[in-house]
Amino acid sequence: MSSDAWQLVSSLLNRTSSGAPGLTIEDEVTLLYRELHASLLRYLASLGLPAAEAEDIVQETFLHLFEHLRRQKPRHNLRGWLFRVARNLGRKRAALLRRSPIDAVDDPASLRCHSTTDPEEMAAWNRRQAHLANVVQALPERDRSCLLLRAEGLRYREIAEALDISLGTVASSLARSLGKLDTVNRS
C-alpha cells in the first residue's frame, strides 16, 4: 500500500466524525476491507474457522460496515467494531459448522515452517514455534484473542471493543499470557 493510501486508511480508522471528503461509502468500505482483510482472516482462523468460511465472514462483516456507515452510525473505534462484528458472525458460523461437522474439515491456521536451510537451526526454530503454538492454543479463548489482536497491531481500546471487555481486562489478560510464554522461553 502506498503511503498516501496508508494515511487515508489510518485517518478513516481514527476518525470520529463524518467520512472522508471525496470518497463514497463504498470506497471507504473497500479501502478498509483491503487493509484489514488479512488480519481478520487470521483472527477468524484463530477462532477455528476454515479458510473458505473466514473469507465469507469477512465479506459479511464489511457489508455490516457498509450498512453502519450508510445509517451514519458512530465512527469511533471502527477497527474494534469490525473485529467485534467478525467475532460475533464467526462464532455463529462456527456453531453452525459444529452441527454439520462434514463441512468443518479444514485445519485452522497452524504455524508455518521456517525458511532456513540449516537443518539444525530449522529444527530448533520449529521446536520453539511448536512450543509457542502449544502454549497459545492452551490459553482460554479470551486470552488467546487478546494476544492475537495485540499482535495484529490493535490498540487496547480496540481489543476491548472487539471482545466486549474493559481496557484493564485487556492489560491483565496480556500480562497473564505473556507470563506463561516467558516461562516457556526460559525453559
Binding site: 463504498e26 468500505v29 473497500t30 476491507y33 483491503r34 482483510h37 488479512a38 482472516l41 487470521r42 479458510a51 473458505a52 468460511e53 473469507e55 465469507d56 465479506q59 459479511e60 464489511f62 457489508l63 455490516h64 457498509f66 450498512e67 453502519h68 450508510r70 452510525k73 462484528v85 460475533n88 458472525l89 491456521a109 504455524l111 508455518r112 521456517h114 526454530w125 520453539r128 514455534q129 509457542l132 503454538a133 494476544l147 492475537l148 495485540r150 499482535a151 490498540r155 487496547y156 481496557l167 484493564g168 492489560a171 491483565s172 496480556l174 500480562a175 497473564r176 505473556l178 507470563g179 510464554l181 516467558d182 522461553n185
Partner: protein, 257 residues
C-alpha cells in the same frame, strides 16, 4: 513524582504498550528506576512480548487476496435490492407452479431452473466491443429488467402468475458482459434455491468481467461459455465442483450490531 507502591502486571503492560498518558508514564518509569523488583518484572514482560511478536510474525502465512470486486457487487445489491431481483414467489407457490406444469405435460426442460431452457433462452449479446463492455458502470450493470419484457419471459416459460419472492429474472449473459435486454437472453431463475443460484452466477460474472477487462479472456469466448452452460463455466474457472462458500452465501438479513 514516582509511584510509592509496586506496579501491578496490567500497569506494566499499559506502560510497555504506551497505553497511558505521558504524566502517568513518567511517574511509573520513575518508580522503575528506584525499584529493582518491578524493573525485573518489566523486563520479563517486555522480552516475552518481543519474543511473542517475533514468533507471530514468522508464523504468518500469506493470506488469499481480498475479493474486493465481489464485495462491491454485494454492496451494490444491498444498496438497491430491488434493481435486479424483481419477481420472487414463496417456495410453496413455486411448487404449485411446477405441479401445474407437470399436469400440463410440459417437457421438464421448460421449468425454471438453475440453467435456462436453451430453446427459449439461448443467450443474446449486444454488439459491443471489449472497451465498451469494460466502460459499463455499476449503474447500467444492475438495472432492472423492463416489466413488459419480464412478463414475456414468464409467458414463454409458462409461468402464469409469478408472485413476488420466488424468482429472479436473470440475464443469461449479464449486461455487464454485453448481454442484451432480450427475451432470448432472460430466464426466471429460482431465487436462493439450490446451490447454483443467481448469487453464484453473479460471482462468476464479476470474475469473468475482470478477466475480460484485464485482457486475459476474450469477450466472445466468455459470452459463449455463459450461454452454453454457466455452471460448467463456473466449475472450470474456479476449479471446483460446487460453489465456493464466499459465493454461496449472500447476506440480506438485517445488519447485526
Amino acid at each position: 513524582m514516582p509511584s510509592d507502591r509496586h506496579l501491578r502486571d496490567e500497569e506494566l503492560m499499559l506502560l510497555i504498550d504506551g497505553e497511558v498518558s505521558a504524566a502517568v508514564s513518567a511517574a511509573w518509569l520513575a518508580h522503575l528506576r528506584d525499584c529493582s523488583s518491578c524493573r525485573l518484572h518489566h523486563q520479563a514482560l517486555t522480552s516475552a512480548l518481543r519474543h511473542f511478536l517475533d514468533g507471530y510474525q514468522d508464523s504468518v502465512t500469506p493470506s488469499p487476496p481480498p475479493e474486493a470486486a465481489l464485495l462491491r457487487r454485494r454492496m451494490a445489491v444491498q444498496a438497491h435490492p430491488s434493481r435486479r431481483s424483481i419477481y420472487m414467489v414463496p417456495a410453496a407457490a413455486l411448487f404449485l407452479l411446477l405441479a401445474a406444469g407437470l399436469w400440463w405435460g410440459l417437457p421438464s426442460r421448460s421449468f425454471a431452473g438453475a440453467l435456462p431452457d436453451s430453446r427459449l433462452t439461448p443467450g443474446y449479446a449486444r454488439a459491443l466491443s471489449k472497451a465498451e463492455v469494460c466502460g459499463i458502470t455499476a449503474d447500467d450493470d444492475t438495472r432492472a429488467v423492463p416489466v413488459e419484457l419480464a412478463r414475456r419471459v414468464f409467458r414463454e416459460y409458462r409461468i402464469d402468475r409469478p408472485r413476488p419472492r420466488a424468482y429472479e429474472m436473470d440475464y443469461l449473459i449479464s449486461p455487464a458482459l454485453g448481454g442484451a435486454d432480450d427475451v432470448r437472453n432472460l430466464w426466471p431463475q429460482p431465487y436462493n434455491e439450490g446451490v447454483w443460484n443467481s448469487r453464484v452466477k453473479d460471482a462468476l460474472e464479476d470474475h469473468l468481467r475482470e478477466q475480460v477487462c484485464d485482457g486475459s479472456l476474450e469477450l466472445a469466448r466468455v459470452q459463449s461459455e455463459l450461454a452454453r452452460d454457466w455452471i460448467a463455466a463456473y466449475k472450470s474457472h474456479f476449479h471446483t465442483g460446487e460453489p465456493l462458500a464466499a459465493h454461496r452465501r449472500f447476506v440480506k438479513d438485517l445488519p447485526w450490531e
